[in-house]
Amino acid sequence: MKDREIDAILNRAAQTPHQVEPALLASLANSVGASLRPVRPLPPAWTLVGGLVLICAAVAVAGAARFGLHGVEKMSLLDRGLIFSALGIFVWLAATTQVAEMIPGSRRRVSPGTLLAAGSLALVAVFAILFRDYHTHRFVPQGVACLTAGLLHAIPAALVSWLLLRRGFAVNPVAAGLVAGTLAGLAGVTMLELHCPNFEALHVMLWHTAVVPIAGATGALLAWLRGRQDGAAARAIAMPR
């Protein structure tokens, strides 16, 4: 059997007229009409993407400025160019993906999981190319301090991003949480690159990059927990004891 024949069979089956009860249609029109008022559509996607990129940049620069811009001052021109270009590309990609996740029926260029994996791996690769000092000095204490600082800066980035996109609607909340966490994590890494003067390769590759997957996983987990909570609340309303 050829595809054309299958097509014809499916088209015939799909063209069978299908009716919905007129009473149901009337009830739907009534319930929609009862609360019908003009609404302001969401702004264009580029405005929202621009807003998210600005939020990330503002959080990273403000945080680094407060603690000192020691990292960027110590970097060579090549370091700055490669690191901040990579961060800029992934922040823009994450912002685009997050906006797409918050608007139903949007075109998706990359899945949130792929973005997280690609972003983390790309950062590790850039750091591996630029930093060749494989000595470690107070590896864990310094690493934990950077990781904590990065994650602490991811929190305000995530909160302000959420404020910007609060009118959106995520058809897949876990994916939206994952990409929101990834974007916030990238803001945290940007702050670390501006601030941290420790250029030991392992420190940067492990502790700085770890901010992205940890923030991404936290975002997905929070969204999943919220979904479960909403589900439990809905069940409690549906089946009162």
Binding site: N11, A14, H18, L28, G105, R107, R108, F169, V171, N172
Partner: protein
């Protein structure tokens, strides 16, 4: 006027609070959304509930539609969300309520319901992800790009699912035709 642009205009008027536009959208899109739910297990009553839930959600989030963007993927993305959410909740409830009995496979059970028995029977053996792609392509008449938008996936992934669905249907329909041919020969 192209049906898609007409829907876009209705949607813009619905956002402006036009009751006639909202009613027109409900009358235009409800039959195909209902059918989208009806092809799934659960029967007509469940499809009615899902349709109501979908319109309530559409009404809540109507501001997220942006003029100039395709309308159908926006509607179907919300309908799909409602359906996935519903079956996830149903599965959780079933697990809690019948811990000692075997849980039936939700996606594979065909049900007889008015008007769509043929399509339903045809699509029944397909996995959920392939079935929804075929439904959107055939019932809603969406393009592959629009289906990708509605299912939050890529064009390549939709093409792959459609290709696999056709392979399965070919196997099934070919087998059926063969057995009917043999049956005919015996009579």
């Amino acid at each position: 006027m192209h049906p898609e642009s007409e829907l876009e205009i209705l949607m813009a008027r619905y956002q402006q609070g036009d009751y006639a536009a909202a009613t027109a959208l409900i009358h235009r899109l409800s039959p195909q959304l209902h059918r989208f739910f009806l092809v799934q297990p659960g029967g007509r009553a469940e499809a009615d509930d899902l349709l109501q839930e979908t319109w309530l959600r559409i009404h809540e989030v109507r501001h997220t539609y942006r003029t100039g963007e395709p309308v159908m993927p926006w509607f179907y993305a919300i309908a799909r969300h409602i359906r996935v959410d519903h079956y996830r909740k149903a599965l959780r409830t079933t697990r809690r309520e019948q811990p000692l009995e075997e849980t039936p496979e939700v996606a594979a059970v065909p049900t007889a319901s008015g008007g769509t028995a043929d399509l339903e029977a045809l699509l029944a053996p397909l996995p959920e992800s392939q079935r929804e792609v075929i439904e959107m392509l055939k019932i809603a008449g969406m393009s592959i790009e629009e289906v990708a938008r509605a299912t939050s996936s890529t064009v390549g992934s939709v093409k792959q699912k459609a290709h696999r669905a056709y392979a399965k249907l070919r196997e099934r329909l070919g087998g059926k035709a063969l057995s009917e041919g043999r049956g005919g020969g015996l009579q």
